[in-house]
Subunit: 381 residues, 2 copies
């Protein structure tokens, strides 16, 4: 039984080193770039892997949809177990890959796709075996946590902190997937799909981005509200409704999430039996994320090959969850939702009455049309 790794970038090379050091032999690595140190193990032809009977597990760390998707489908059809670190791919082809794996008697694992080095999806899947999970929520994106933490600690501007994050390699040259919430939305979709035994598409998830946060927001939250803020993805299953949303969330200073500093992640579940479980660690990086890929591979090689049953696809319905919101804007806000308001120059600082996630997002569109720099944050109940 050998493993093949597709893609020898940061995550793929991390997983390779960890597996080799731990006594698990990597039979083939697929990469189009030369890597002398890999010798015969390197190939640029996927068929070398597909046709190698000794290779029973294929771990994908290429990123993007194609050719990763085609490779994984072929691997599954050839009876190989697959592991992926690719949240875009898992989010897009969740049902197809899980169904195909079931039909072919193999398993699909993708722990590295949410939580990086944190064994989050592994433990979430394990929890569903003997508990009803009612909520998944947490700090799922290191870049945005780094930005918020630095803004709070150093009283810095968003744009300055973003540049620092980019120079440290914590943020991409194009940071929009992080700061506009798509990355967190995908991780929320994957986590909710597993937790609630369903398939949630990232498209239905309401998102407030972090891009518009300013010093004055941090100061208002700190000095006027006596609280702090984190960027949180949430999925909730209540009765037959599934809510899922991503937003800056104003929380108490002594909350567990408030102590998550720098680019760390912390993700939680609530189970009817077990109560709240929270998992903290590095959400990215060569060796942490490489560890998550390696652990999935080792689970499979150890005989733990039970597949997830793909649940029925369900639409997100954000009418069921309500709370107050903080809005900083220059635009008019419907007076019926305002609980309190402070005015400072052209800026209005508004705390809303309790309002559903669905309603605040409908209203936010008008407000953002008038003032594109408006900032929205939920307030934890």
């Amino acid at each position: 039984m050998k493993v093949a790794i597709l893609g020898f970038g940061i995550v793929g090379s991390g997983a390779y080193e960890i597996l080799e050091r731990s006594g698990y032999s990597v039979g083939k690595v697929l990469d189009i770039r030369p890597h002398k140190e890999l010798g015969d193990v390197l190939t640029s032809n996927f068929d070398d892997i597909l046709n190698d009977k000794e290779i029973t597990v294929v771990a994908e760390a290429i990123g993007g949809l194609e050719p990763a998707h085609t490779f994984l489908v072929k691997a599954i059809k050839a009876g190989k177990h697959v592991v992926s670190s690719n949240k875009h791919l898992i989010c897009t082809y969740y049902d197809e890959l899980l169904t195909l794996a079931r039909e072919n008697g193999v398993t699909v694992r993708f722990s590295a796709s949410a939580g990086g080095g944190i064994p989050w999806l592994h433990n979430l899947r394990r929890a569903t075996r003997c508990d009803r999970i009612t909520k998944v929520f947490g700090i799922m994106n290191g870049t945005t946590n780094f930005i918020i933490d630095a803004m709070i600690s150093d009283n810095s501007d968003f744009s300055d902190v973003l540049r620092t994050a980019q120079s440290l390699g914590y943020a991409e040259a194009d940071p929009s997937a992080d700061i506009d919430g798509l990355d967190t939305a995908r991780k929320t979709a994957i986590s909710s799909s597993i937790a609630f035994n369903t398939e949630i598409s990232e498209d239905g998830i309401h998102i407030f981005g972090l891009r518009n946060i300013k010093k004055c927001d941090i100061e208002y939250i700190k000095n006027k509200l006596g609280k702090t803020v984190r960027y949180i993805g949430t999925g909730i299953c209540e009765g037959d409704k599934i809510s899922a949303f991503v937003e800056p969330l104003i929380i108490d200073n002594d909350s567990l999430f408030a102590s998550v500093r720098k680019n760390n992640n912390m993700i939680s579940l609530e189970g009817e039996n077990v109560g709240q479980l929270s998992f903290f660690g590095q959400g990215a990086g060569k060796y942490p994320t490489g560890t998550a890929v390696a652990q999935d591979v080792i689970d499979i090689l150890s005989g733990d090959i039970k597949s997830l049953t793909p649940g029925k696809k369900r639409e997100v319905d954000n009418t069921a969850v309500s709370k107050s919101y903080y809005i900083r804007t220059r635009a008019d806000v419907p007076s019926c939702i305002i609980e309190s308001i402070d005015v400072d120059g052209e800026n209005k600082y508004i705390i809303t009455k309790e309002i559903s996630v669905f309603d605040i997002h409908s209203i936010s569109k008008e407000i953002l049309n008038k003032d594109g720099g408006s900032f929205f944050a939920g307030i934890e109940r």
Copy 2:
């Protein structure tokens, strides 16, 4: 394949309900008390379980050393996998049970023995497969965390909070195993044994208890040091030395552990590849701890039966780890270890120079001989 549960107390009945609700059939329950609801499943004769070929997993939730130990040895010798929630038993017979299990081709799991509902030992064991663990540390005892948290939040006396904890069922009538540190020491021993692939006896672990903590300590730590305190078990592997100790630890207010409130637990590991991982949740209770037992059972029924290899027994050596300590005492303290001192009436509040865990414990004996109410706490570096 069926499971038997030994002991139908809080943990045993929690595990029973969770397994039955999750579709896993419990074949037999051993208890000497009557439980009508169990019908034929109940037996008071262990041989009924031992001789039942359908029962492949025996989960022990009796507590204490005997007859639990004898039952588990017999079960292993009969080729049954065993699960235990019993930290006293696991600590005492760690090597014997693991060796016996290996010889008989079965596995021993004991996730519920440290961390309660937190999947701590499961994840620790999993982490050792592809990482070198250098440290395990955390809040492993809910009673002491409840006491510290209430003393800090409500400015209460130790004895008042202890009574509240007892009336809420968070503390035993005889709370000494909790407040004198034995419970945390056992969990530290088990965690260190797994993390460092060895066998650490609880006897070698240096303990500073929590029993002597007073309002004036909380106030000094808060107002003079600007910090807070938690009750922490620590195991460290550095080079060929293993340190293990239990102590009140003075930590920064924004530390992850500082946000662990009430009777919750949080336990962490540091791995060379994965960095710090922390696991938060309920450290006790019928359904949380019952979940940990049920999860071990389900792992085994799912084919995950790899045994731990019992590591070589090693002595704790606390000479390698040094830090400053806080001492509140009326006795004389050797001046060579004093970094700073405040005096208030008969009490001296001392911050020591950096000193090894071994040395401070040697010195503490003399100090406690002269003033039995002296309080010691480490200061996180």
